[in-house]
Amino acid sequence: MTYAFILAFQSLIREKWINLLSVLTIASGLLIISLALFTVYNIDAATKNLPERFSMILYLDNDIQKEKVDAAVGILKKNHAVLSVRYIPKDEALKELKTTLKNSSYVFEGLDENPLPDAIEVKLKKDSVGQETVRKFAGEAMKIPGVKEVDYAEKFLSTLNYLRVGMKTIGLILIASLGAGIIFVCYSTVKILFYRRNEEIETFKLLGATKAFIRTPFLVEGALIGTSGGIVSLLGIFAFYYIVLLRLSVSMPIFKAILFPWDLFLVLPFVGTFLGVTGAAIAIGRLKY
């Protein structure tokens, strides 16, 4: 067993070119997959809380009575899709509008009557923030007595939808193709290593070596190459984080919002080991005497 390690190390040193190439190929493959996962992870985290920002405004009839408002709020609160309901009297609405217009607030200076209607703000549960459900909900809300008009951001909804679909599509394509690529690299690397030492292996067999004796150094080698690839990709991820992300977030505060899942990336060397051993095992295949 120790001799298998000696043989594996000897061959790693002897074939340094091809090994370096394999390690770097595997590393960059894992790196790109990680970056893809990292991006997907962040987009996902960012969009997860987006639905909270979505709200609908129900404008009520002019001079509506208090009881009618309470009844409407009651109906809305009973709806399963609803997260929260807030009644906004017209005075409050005017104050808000003035804040929104900021510099131009003198628009309202000469105003002596509030032209705004009373309104109810409704926030929906995360799951219910979709184009279909929202449209349906709006239809139902219109039927509530006292509701004059329903207003919400159509565009927000469609953008959210696009983001999710686009992210899924690109992410899946990238990860699937790169995953296949890495397995292929491991496979062909060991295949080459194996093929190169065909003659040596033949001699080993003729001298009476068991299959395990021949196989073990290759598996060890595959494991070492895969693990190294994983470690290098981990270093690459760290470099990416420290050199690129941290630098950028100094000048661009948006980057501070980016989440960096350490624990997820620490698994990279092990993924490398697994891929390396698997590739090696497949490449060696069945030995025959």
Binding site: R14, E200, L206, L207, G208, T210, K211, K288
Partner: protein, 230 residues
């Protein structure tokens, strides 16, 4: 699994063995036996099938017809997983050397023992001993490509005998050796044979078996044409 000394079976027994390559018959209906502890020669012109005969004995080729038994093991009924263990009882001097070019002389010879799982101390002692026997102790650290043809051949001979196998198969073991060195190697084979090891030597160097009193099998174009005692 070791070779049990199971009664009175001959060490090597060929019965009507034929071996075809792609478009050519290398051996045709060969029958002969080699007894335990015998020293025997196989001779014949270039391409007559000597190497093929040896390959059949160490399971590198399978017969197309006929049966071969080695120390009582029928090759046809042998499980694949037993082959390495049976081979450990055979020391082979390959005609094309089959040295490991990325290992030095010591490691080349030691490989025969490592494969058998020998300990480091035993390996050192025995490798240096056999290298001394073929007069190559001073080349232990050299890589095969830096050796002369005859020196390489002697490394192969060392590797074949170092593990003290039950049978030694030597294919043209003196092709690159001068008469004096060849005689030394033959003396070593005789000593090993005297200790009970079966030795089979394929060669066309008639000097090796002239007046040796040993049995000689003659092949020609794959046929066994004569079996005589010199």
């Amino acid at each position: 699994m070791t070779w049990a000394d199971d009664g009175n079976n001959p060490m090597i027994h060929f019965n009507g063995v034929t071996k075809d390559y792609d478009n050519q018959t290398a051996l045709r209906d060969i029958t002969f036996s080699v007894e335990k502890g015998e020293m025997i020669f196989v001779t014949g012109p270039s391409g007559s099938g000597k190497t093929t005969l040896l390959k059949l004995i160490y399971f590198a080729e399978k017969p197309d017809r006929g049966t071969i038994s080695i120390a009582g093991w029928e090759t046809g009924q042998l499980k694949e997983s037993s082959i390495p263990f049976l081979r450990r009882n055979i020391g082979i001097v390959f005609q094309d050397f089959r040295l490991l070019h990325n290992k030095n002389v010591f490691e080349n010879v030691a490989m025969a023992l490592r494969i058998r799982g020998a300990g480091e101390k035993e390996i050192k002692a025995r490798v240096y001993e056999t290298l001394k026997a073929v007069n190559l102790r001073h080349k232990a650290d050299v890589f095969p490509r830096r050796l002369s043809g005859g020196e390489q051949q002697r490394v192969v001979i060392s590797r074949a005998i170092v593990a003290e196998p039950t049978v030694i198969l030597a294919d043209e073991p003196t092709g690159n050796l001068d008469p004096d060195t060849a005689e030394g190697v033959m003396r070593t084979f005789k000593e090993i044979n005297a200790k009970g090891t079966t030795v089979l030597i394929a060669t066309h160097n008639r000097e090796l078996f002239r007046n040796s009193g040993r049995r000689v099998i003659r092949l020609d174009m794959g046929n066994l044409v004569a079996e005589d005692r010199t």
